[in-house]
Each structure stands twice: as C-alpha cells, then as structure tokens.
C-alpha cells in the first residue's frame, strides 16, 4: 500500500501531509514511528486507573501527534476526549462517557495500526 492509499484507508488528509511534510519518504519515516508512540497506551492505562489528569495529558499528546501526522479521524476522536478530560469540563461527563469516547479513539487507532502494517515495506 502506498502512503497515499494509507491515508485514504484511515480517513487522513494526504494532501495536508504532503503540503507540510514535503514528500512521501519523509511522511513514511514519521508515520512508521507511530506504533512506537506511547501516548495511546498511556491514555488507556490512565483511564483504567481512573487517573483523569494523566489521561488528559496522554490524550492531549495523542491529539497533537495525530494532528501533525494528519490522521484526521483519529485526531478528531482524541480531540473530543481531550476536551472532555480538561479539568474545567470534567464534571460535565460521567466515566461511561469517557470510556465510550475512548472506544472511538481505540477503534480509529486500530484502523491506523493495521493500515500501517500493510504500508510497511
């Protein structure tokens, strides 16, 4: 799978990625690092421990990285969770809300990771 196909499969913005990251080989270099990124695992663990501050921090990082990589669907899902986890908003949500938002993130994350496996050369 080409880099362009990869972006189509995960609902990312290839055009934006090319515009900002110059070329396919550079994009490839960065997206291949994504499976090593710890923010998703940290988010998962923090939510399991109900540590909302750590969860916010991890979601925030995940949102930032995915924005940079133009993984639009995943970054949109993590943005939603990040905003809900902000200290000033937390009270408006139940724990079930966080979990359901997290499963959205997890769904998109899984899509990205399996697409990456198919892209790897």
């Amino acid at each position: 799978m080409t880099v362009k196909d990869f972006y189509a499969e995960i609902g990312g913005d290839y055009g934006d990625a090319v515009k900002r990251l110059m070329n396919d080989s550079l994009i490839y270099r960065f997206i291949m690092k994504f499976p090593d990124d710890k923010s998703f695992d940290m988010l998962k663990t923090a939510l399991q421990k109900k540590d909302l501050e750590a969860a916010f921090s991890a979601a925030h990082t995940l949102k930032g990285v995915t924005l940079n990589l133009a993984f639009n669907k995943l970054s949109a899902a993590s943005l939603k969770l990040t905003d809900a986890l902000r200290s000033q908003n937390r009270a408006d949500y139940s724990f079930e809300d966080f979990n359901s938002m997290f499963s959205e993130v997890q769904k998109e994350y899984t899509v990205v990771c399996s697409a990456l496996e198919k892209t790897a050369v």
Partner: protein, 559 residues
C-alpha cells in the same frame, strides 16, 4: 530582508533547543529545522533547562512544548525568567491546544510567540526567523557575559554562574569579597572619564592576574567588584592590605581609596542575587568613613537592612495616614531679638517605632527617591499653615523648607512649587528653600534649576555652609540670598572666631544675609551678634515646635 538574514546565517548555524517529550513531534521539528539550524533536543522541561544552562551561549532560540512530564512548559519559563542570561534566549511555545488562555499564560511568562499543531514548516521557519532577528537586533540591550572594561563577568553573568556553582556544590562553604573604588566620580571629574576607565580596566586586570583566590569575579556596578571564593579561615584583614597594595601598584591613577566588604561562609540557601545585595549593604557601612577600610557582613547588618526595608514599606502609607508632621524652629533677628522666620522640619510619628527624627529616615528617603514626595508634602503644609495664620489675623514670618538634590532636579520643580503658593494665595517672598552646598556644588544643571526657582521670587538659603568639601567658589557660583553657617562653626565658635567672622563679612560683602543655627548659649549669641550675623536659630530661643505650638509662639512673640 530574508536574504540579509540568510547570508548572516551562513557564517555559522544558529542553535535551537527543542524541548518536547513526544518523540514524533520532536523529530518532526528537528527534520523541519536541521538544515538551517544546529539542533539540541530535550525530552522534558528539566532536561531542557539543563541544556539551556549549558548551552545558552550558542542557542538562538528555544522551542518549548507545554504539556510535559517532570517539568512542564510553564515551570520551564518561570525558571528561565529568574535568570537574566537564560532569559536572553527567546522562546517559542509549541502548543497543541487551541485554548487561548494557555497561550496568554505563556506570553505572560515571557514566551515570544507560539506555533500550533499541526506543524506547518514554512510558518514555523518564518516565525523562528522573525523572533531570532528581533532578539538579535536587541542584543546590545541584552545581558552580556563579560564586561568590556574590566574583562570580568558582568553582574548578570556573575549571578548566573554563582548560582549554578552553589546549586552544583551544595556542601561547599564560600566567601565573598567586594572591592569599591571610593569617590570614583571624583576621579572621573578630576582626571577625565578616560582615566577613570583606565583605572577600572587596571583593577579588572589585577583581579584576573592575581586572582586573589577567586573562583569567579565580576564588575558588579560601575566602581564595585565582587569576588567569590572557597571559604578559608585566614585573616582577611591582612589579605586586604595586600590586595590594596597590588591594585595601587602601577595604577594609572594615584590617590584613590579602596574599600572592602567581606562576607565569609555565606548562607548558600539564599539566592546569589541576595548575597550580592547583602555585600552591598555591608559596603555601605564603610562608605565615607575615613577611618575604616574593611567591613564584615553580620546578621546585625542584615537586620538593619531588614529594618530599613520595613521602613520603606511603611512610608507610602505614612504619607496617606498623615504620620509625618511639620515642626517649626524659630529664627530670630540677632539685633532686635524679634522672631524673623522659621525652618520647617519634618518628624515621623511611626505607628511602631514612635517618634522618628529626620536623621532616622531622610538618608533612606534620599536613596529611594521618596524624599521628593515628602519635601513636597512639607512645602504644601507650610503654604497651608501660612494661609491659616493670615486668616486668623496672625502676622506670618518667612519659612524655609529643605530641598534635596533630587527635588531640585525634578523636571517640573518651579511649577510644582508655585501650585500651593497660588492655591493658598501666599506671598511668594514668605517662602525660602534651603539647599545644601554639597547638593549644588559643581553641577550646572542644579545651578540652572536653583536660579529658575530664585527668579520666581523664592529666596534661597545655602545650608550647612562650610561643611564638607566647601570652597569659597561655591558662595560665588550658587544663586543665593542667605548663607546658613554650618552647625559645627557655632559649636566650636570659641576656637574659630576668625573664620566665622570672615565668612559673615564675605557673605555681607556679596550682599547675602547670614543665619547661624544650633545656637544654644548666650555666649555664642553675643559673639555672633558682634560679628554682625543677621539671624539666630537654635535652642537658645526655641526648640522645633509642633504646628499649634508654633502658632501660639507667633502670637506671643511680637514682630
């Protein structure tokens, strides 16, 4: 613009420190920037701060993430802000958030700009170029490492390195030594600024070459040097004699006096900046003391400084709460004995320290500038009092008010003086200003201002004449109406009759009146009367009187 910047940049790649905990983000920034810049990376704020301390000389910019473990971006900015050298490196915050409060907070903490995710290389590069260009164009205003006259550290650099040294050597006992060239401004006046600079250069050179056991040293202010060294129990007073000789050897200027302040086994829990401040306080105790060359820091000194600080804090409220009261000391005509005027004096009725005389607070106020507010308050009060006497049918007498050098230098002095006179509709001839000769000698700006005040119709009294470094030239140069003999002439009048007589005659010959203050005895009065002194002020007639007492005094004393 860009071309100019780029050619500039060709000489050597500028350094950028990327402080970002996320590997992908950090590498993305690095790949965007590494063609043009020398990149240093840090995975959290704490590491970032260390890298900045190590490499600030070669860093043109910091790119800083906000959300980070160990030390976040805000904390990083706060630490950086407290160190003048570190804060000279500009920071761009890389924020993932769209919440503008975060950005505001960063800017308030000293960040120069921010970029948001997703990173757009072209925008990032443009912003970085703009910030670096701005910061380099201001570089002359920024903290520099070495003082170009002495070759030693600048104050900012010294405080930075001293602090680092203490942080890294927590168990070490340290000593500090300050060297001050006393009366440096006189050297400049006497030999010229170039010679003065040569002297500073010479001292810097001696300190670098002879070292005096210093780990590091700086030129702290114009004429003050600080050395920091490992604590020793040796006799500093002997060492100081040697240092004094060394500095005088082959000096481009002779006849200057060095003063030393020593602080041994410094309190390393206190910041480097405060330690230097303590040394300055210590130096003050030997300033203008001809009998002392060396002072040691003591806790008593610190307490005194603390006391002064408290006084300083309480002074503003004091004015609002009317804790200052104006006292009047009568002046009498020497021949007729009638009251002929008064000097307005200020007392501070302090809520904690009680009754304070000017000696307790005027030096402090002169230093911190509060004196101008206080003197103006006295001036206003005097104008009001004169108006009240007139309203009550009491014949007023001229009142003299003290003015400091700072008062006279205030740009709008004449206007500020006129305001209460006009408001209270008081005859301007009833108001005198006392200036000391030391405040006015050899200073054309002051002389011009004094002349302007005198031209308005306010009489000038030259206070403390004959004390300190007075010269007969002063009496000729200062526009004045009345000469006030220094109190020391009256105290020892028996021993210096000829001098007192001469000063009075000289004043008269130049068309000035004379006042003697501190007159306590009949004998003193008679001698002064014989010599033709015009006015007498002192306990012989009256002590300084509280406002209401003085009002009664005016009623009781025919004039």
């Amino acid at each position: 613009m860009l071309n100019e910047f780029e050619t500039y940049g060709n000489q050597k790649k500028r350094g950028i420190l990327i402080v970002e905990d996320n590997d992908i983000n950090r590498e993305m920034l690095k790949s965007i920037l590494e063609d043009k810049y020398e990149i240093t990376e840090a995975a959290d704020g704490l590491i970032g701060l260390e890298k900045l301390k190590e490499g600030y000389r070669d860093l043109s910019l910091v790119l800083l993430d906000v959300q980070m473990p160990n030390m976040n971006g805000y904390e990083f900015l706060e630490h950086q802000r407290n160190d003048e050298l570190l804060s000279s490196v500009p920071v761009i915050v890389t924020t993932g958030s769209t919440i503008s409060e975060d950005e505001e907070k960063c800017l308030a903490l000293g960040a120069s700009d921010f970029v948001t995710k997703p990173y757009n290389p072209r925008i990032i590069i443009r912003r970085i170029e703009a910030i670096i260009r701005l910061s380099e164009s201001m570089a002359t205003l920024k903290a520099v490492e070495f003082d170009n006259i002495s070759g030693l550290y600048t104050k900012a650099a010294f405080i930075h390195h001293f602090q680092r040294y203490m942080d890294e050597n927590k168990d070490k006992k340290l000593d500090m030594l300050m060297i001050n060239v006393e009366g440096f401004s006189y050297i400049n006046e006497l030999y010229g600024v170039a010679k003065g600079e040569q002297l500073l250069k010479h001292i810097g050179n001696v300190i670098s070459v002879c070292n005096f056991g210093a780990i590091m040293s700086c030129r702290y202010t114009t004429d003050r040097f600080i050395l920091m060294r490992v604590h020793s129990d040796s006799d500093v007073s002997k060492e100081v004699v040697v240092y004094n000789e060394k500095i005088h050897e082959n000096s481009p200027v002779s006849g200057f006096v060095l003063k030393f302040a020593v602080y041994t086994d410094v309190d390393t829990s206190v910041s480097a900046a405060s330690l230097c401040e303590r040394l300055s306080v210590t130096m003050k105790t030997v300033r203008r003391r001809y009998d002392m060359q060396l002072a040691f820091y003591s806790t008593e000194m610190a307490n005194r400084a603390k006391h002064l600080k408290k006084m300083e804090e309480s002074m503003k409220d004091a004015l609002k709460e009317k804790q200052f009261s104006v006292y009047y000391q009568p002046k009498h005509d020497a021949k007729t004995g009638e009251i002929a005027g008064a000097e307005a004096l200020v007392r501070w009725i302090h809520p904690v320290h009680g009754f304070l005389s000017p000696a307790d607070f005027i030096p402090l106020f002169e230093e911190n500038g509060f004196i101008t507010k206080l003197d103006l308050y006295v001036w206003n009060t005097v104008c009001e009092d004169i108006r009240n006497w007139i309203n009550d049918g009491i014949k007023p007498v001229p009142v003299s008010v003290n003015a400091s050098r700072r008062d006279i230098l205030s740009i709008d002095t004449p206007e500020r003086l006129l305001l209460p006179i006009n408001e209270n509709d008081v005859d301007i001839g009833l108001l005198h200003i006392e200036i000391t000769e030391s405040a006015s000698v050899n200073d054309n700006v002051i002389l011009e201002k004094v002349k302007a005040v005198r031209d308005m119709g306010i009489k000038i009294e030259l206070d403390d004449f004959g004390s300190g470094q007075s010269s007969l030239g002063t009496i000729r140069d200062i526009p004045t109406d009345i000469i006030k003999l220094d109190i020391s002439f009256v105290r020892n009048i028996e021993k210096q009759k000829e001098i007192v007589k001469m000063i009075i005659s000289l004043a008269h010959a130049l068309g000035h009146k004379t006042v003697a203050e501190g007159v306590e005895t009949k004998e003193q009065l008679e001698i002064l009367k014989d010599f033709g002194c015009d006015y007498i002020q002192g306990y012989y007639y009256s002590k300084p009187l509280e406002r209401n007492e003085f009002r009664q005094y005016l009623i009781n004393n025919k004039h």
